[in-house]
């Protein structure tokens, strides 16, 4: 039988607010345990939550970016369950009336564009962390993360393959970073994914029974976890079994999913409106205010890059993959005044290559756009060749000198004195009569040998164009 996979994703994005969603404590990652948890985060008797306006702003920004309905009236609810790292014994979340309603995101897989529906996105607080190692049979609790704002983005079951799921996740990842509402750091848990996966015979209208795979924290694992789960379900059904509705955990080490709890064991969360918080009212004026802070979105930027800079598909995709990278590129073009394609090739080639090798982000680049621009200007005006440019780039990477300083200091300036070039060419021709004979008898390939010899003699500092032209004349 032919099977069809149905996937919906729930993605938890940690919002990049300065303070927590219901308290004034800081949200910075990596602090000493329990140093960023105030009375409210600890759930002390008598404390009350106060909603962080920035979290609302970010949620609305996201909603506008996916062209969603922003709820004019949304409420917070308590989700009740006991766990040691959940200080109040309930999580403040949204159940009915979430802040962001129906929206969508377009993904592209194998050149085909597909629209993925987003059912809702709601605000909630994160829990703390339980630490089970290092406490000699006891558990430690770190409440630094408790109260960190999350936007949970729930998709429609619109994806039909792991590949589509990954494309959707990447697109969303790019979007939230563009919007500046999430740092997207998956290792630190700022962007986490649960996947709802089911299979059905192709052509069947109703969905199969789904399993929810929890907490998959990389694009690679999402693909692997879904593919494993799809096979598991198909094998199960084909061997006469039945998929049960349950929550499963993906084990990256063993590359498998395993059961965490079944539907019967599922909690009754007893949601009800949180009486400590007022409803959130959002009007047109507020939306307009948020809209005014909206950056250019990825899709629009791509179109503009192609049109404005005449870039190809590949360079456009790379350069617009993150806002800081796109900003770097645009600043480089503007500052250097160099041809957009030259700039693009250098950024996507040498710069990104070096950054990847060093494991650095564009924002951490040792070579800023001004210094790279200084180099490109010298390539463009023929002071140095592209090849020498690569050497200069190495020096830029290692130090803080400008390209001009490096060129002067290392004596890398191209020789423009044609007399000097001519003298060397004459010398080479005289020294290699055999090759001259070969060339003149029609072996064009030998021409490269002469260019190489001349450049070697000139230590690469001659303009390749000039050398070619003069060699051709001399060898006639």
């Amino acid at each position: 039988m032919e099977w069809e996979t149905v996937i919906g994703l729930e993605i938890h994005t940690q919002l990049a607010t300065q303070s927590k969603i219901f308290s004034g404590a800081a949200t910075a990652y990596g602090a000493e345990p329990n140093t960023q948890a105030c009375a409210v985060d600890l759930g002390l008797p008598g404390v009350l939550p106060v909603l962080n306006a920035d979290a609302v702003h970010m949620a609305v920004k996201f909603g506008l970016a996916i062209e969603a309905q922003i709820a004019p009236y949304s409420i917070f609810a308590r989700k009740n369950y006991f766990y040691p790292d959940l200080p109040k014994g309930y999580q403040i979340s949204q159940m009915e009336l979430p802040i962001v309603g129906l929206g969508h995101l377009d993904i592209e897989v194998d050149g085909v564009t597909k629209r993925i529906g987003i059912t809702r996105a709601h605000l909630e607080e994160d829990a703390g962390k339980s630490l089970h190692e290092d406490f000699h049979g006891l558990s430690g609790i770190d409440l630094n993360r408790a109260g960190t704002p999350l936007l949970e983005i729930v998709s429609q079951p619109d994806m039909r393959s792991a590949k589509e799921a990954v494309a959707y996740m990447r697109k969303l990842h790019e979007l939230v970073r563009y919007l500046g509402i999430c740092d997207g750091n998956m290792q630190e848990g700022s962007f986490r994914c649960d996947a709802n996966v089911s299979v059905r015979p192709k052509g069947q209208a109703e969905f199969g029974t789904r399993a929810e795979i929890k907490n998959i924290n990389s694009f690679k694992f999402v693909e692997k976890a879904i593919n494993f789960e799809v096979e598991r379900q198909i094998d199960l059904i084909e061997s006469g079994g039945k998929v049960v509705q349950e929550t499963r955990l993906y084990d990256a080490n063993k590359d498998e999913t395993r059961s965490m709890r079944s539907k019967e064991e599922a909690n009754d969360y007893r949601y009800f409106p949180d009486p400590d918080l007022l409803p959130v009212f959002i009007d047109e004026a507020y939306k307009a205010q948020v809209k005014a802070t909206m950056p250019e979105l990825p899709e629009a930027k791509k179109q503009r890059f192609k049109a404005q800079y005449g870039l190809d598909e590949e360079n456009t995709a790379i350069l617009t993959s993150s806002r800081p990278l796109a900003d770097y590129y645009e600043a480089l073009v503007k500052a250097s005044g160099c041809e957009a394609k030259l700039c693009a090739n250098w950024v996507t080639g040498d710069l990104l290559g070096a950054l990847n090798k060093a494991g650095l982000d564009i924002t951490e680049s040792p070579v800023d756009y001004q210094r790279l621009g200084g180099l490109l200007v010298r390539i463009a005006d023929d002071t140095i060749s592209g090849k020498i440019g690569k050497q200069v780039f190495e020096y830029l990477w290692q130090g803080s000198a400008t390209a001009d300083d490096i060129i002067a200091e290392k004596g890398l300036k191209q020789v423009t004195d044609t007399g000097a070039i001519e003298a060397i060419i004459d010398q080479i021709i005289a020294a290699n009569p055999e090759q001259v004979e070969q060339y003149r008898s029609g072996k064009d390939k030998v021409f490269g040998f002469f260019v190489g010899q001349v450049m070697k003699e000139m230590q690469g500092k001659a303009s390749p164009g000039e050398v070619n032209k003069m060699l051709k004349d001399k060898l006639k």
């Binding site: 008797p45 404390v47 040691p84 109040k88 007893r270």
Partner: protein
């Protein structure tokens, strides 16, 4: 000295008839002399003397407010930094609050002197002060009777002159009913008038702190210091606080009083009814007009309240899990054991009963039938009050169907106990302000008159109570043995 009002004491302090330290000592002495009432869970003598000393310094400089140097005590539901805050429960017997409730902070800043923390029903759940882990409080007017609850310690202490004034909280009548039973003046403000920050939550949408005093005049002073917007409490209302004391001398000529017929029907004790009729007659003498009105859905208030309040409390009390603070059972075997035994051993019967009711009401499949339905009823009751208060300025009626009942009489009959809150609970559901004002005695025990006003009409309520206290002396009666 122990019978002077706040205003009188403020004058005495400034005239140097007494110092704040001496005044604190007088009250601390009285507290020691009357352990039989069991009003206090903690007496903070050292703290009080420090604050009194600071108050004397301020007064000597000619600074301070009307409350500077005035001995006060807080219901043990308000967090007090560095002082045990038990909420009347074994669960928090070891809890030293690391911060002050907003109300406490404001009163500290006003220069009030904290004598200690007052007994209460456990987590404010009860109408008789018998559910306290620290034992029941006795009614100064009749030691065999309950003082009412949950702010029973506050009411008994003010009545017996073991504090000049006290803070209380009212979720379903917990300020007004003990005030009525102990013959003092108690005011439950409009929901949102007083910050709930640092007031340990029972039912968040109903809880409201307020003053418990000997007179409306004192209540005006205390409420003045307690009220106001707090950016730590999203449900507090950002509306200016009027000068309550300045509003106390308005004529009642032409003020219209509504008597909801449902407040005077079956179940109301005849002695209480007669006392209230006499009080209403006094108001007529003051120029007020009287008219019958109706709160048709009043009888639904108790079932609605006993869904909403337990539902909220079931979540509010989840934080008491033995993990971070409060009681933890000995040698827990595992996590579940830690939870079940810590909570099982430290919560009392009534608290458990309400957590169970609330958990049930919120459970899948029951939520719509109970919680949603109760919220709809809540709206209907609010609408009833809105309509009645469109016809008249204020409503008057009983606080409780009877005077203080005997200790032990109802503790094993929770339903009967719940039903006794019929006249107060509806007001919390509507979020309206209301007072209990001493209006006489029946069988030797005090009877309170309830006055209910429109949203944020505290000033009007205080004036109406004050005018009555100008022509009556019920509020000046002192229980025997406590003169």
């Amino acid at each position: 000295m122990e019978n002077q009002s706040i205003t009188e004491l403020a004058k005495s302090l400034r005239a140097k008839h007494v110092s704040s330290v001496e005044l604190a000592q007088i009250y601390l002495q009285r507290i020691k002399q009357h352990p039989e009432l069991n009003c206090y869970i903690s007496v903070t003598e050292e703290f009080a003397l420090q604050q009194a000393l600071a108050a004397d310094v301020m007064l000597a400089k000619g600074e301070g407010s009307l409350l500077t140097g005035i001995p006060i005590a807080h219901k043990d539901i308000f967090c007090t930094e560095g002082v045990k805050t038990s909420c009347g429960s074994k669960m928090l017997d070891n809890f030293i609050a690391p911060y002050n409730a907003t109300v406490v902070e404001k009163l500290n800043r006003a220069g009030a002197v904290m004598l200690g923390k007052l007994n209460m029903d456990e987590f404010a759940m009860g109408s008789s002060n018998e559910t306290s882990y620290y034992g029941p409080v006795k009614n100064p007017w009749a030691l065999a009777a309950v003082p009412g609850g949950s702010s029973g310690g506050s009411a008994a202490a003010v009545s017996a002159r073991l504090a000049v004034c006290a803070t209380g909280t009212d979720t379903g009548g917990s300020i007004r009913q003990p005030a009525s039973h102990c013959g003092i003046t108690g005011l439950k403000p409009t929901y949102g008038r007083v910050s709930r920050y640092g007031m340990i939550a029972y039912a968040s949408s109903l809880d409201q702190g307020g003053p418990m005093t000997r007179s409306a005049e004192d209540a005006a002073v205390l409420l003045q210091a307690m009220a106001g917007y707090d950016d730590k409490d999203s449900t507090s209302v950002d509306q200016p606080v009027p000068d309550y004391s300045a509003g106390l001398n308005q004529s009642l000529q032409g003020v219209s009083i509504g008597l909801p017929k449902e407040f005077f029907g079956e179940g109301l004790d005849a002695g209480v009814a007669a006392t209230l009729q006499a009080a209403v007659a006094e108001y007529q003498k003051l120029g007020a007009t009287v008219k019958e009105v109706s709160i048709p859905n009043l009888k639904l208030a108790i079932p609605a309240y006993y869904v909403i309040a337990p539902a909220e409390c079931s979540a509010n009390l989840s934080r008491f899990d033995g993990v971070r603070f409060g009681y933890r059972c000995q040698n827990p075997e595992d996590l579940l054991d830690l939870y079940t035994r810590s909570r099982g051993e430290a919560f009392g019967k009534e608290v458990k009963r309400r957590i169970l009711m609330g958990t049930y009401a919120l459970s899948a499949g029951y939520y719509d039938a109970y919680y949603i339905k109760a919220q709809k009823i809540r709206r209907l009751i609010s609408d009833d009050f809105k309509q009645a208060l469109a016809e008249v300025d204020v409503l008057m009626g009983p606080v409780a169907p009877t005077t203080a009942f005997a200790a032990g009489e109802m503790i094993d009959d929770p339903i009967a106990m719940y039903l006794s809150d019929i006249y107060t609970i509806a007001v919390n559901l509507a979020g309206l302000p209301a007072m209990s004002v001493p209006a006489g005695f029946s069988g030797g025990k005090p009877v309170g008159l309830q006055i209910i006003g429109n949203y944020f009409a505290e000033q009007q309520l205080l004036n109406i109570a004050h005018q009555y206290q100008q022509i009556t002396d019920w509020h000046q009666h002192i229980p025997k043995g406590f003169e």
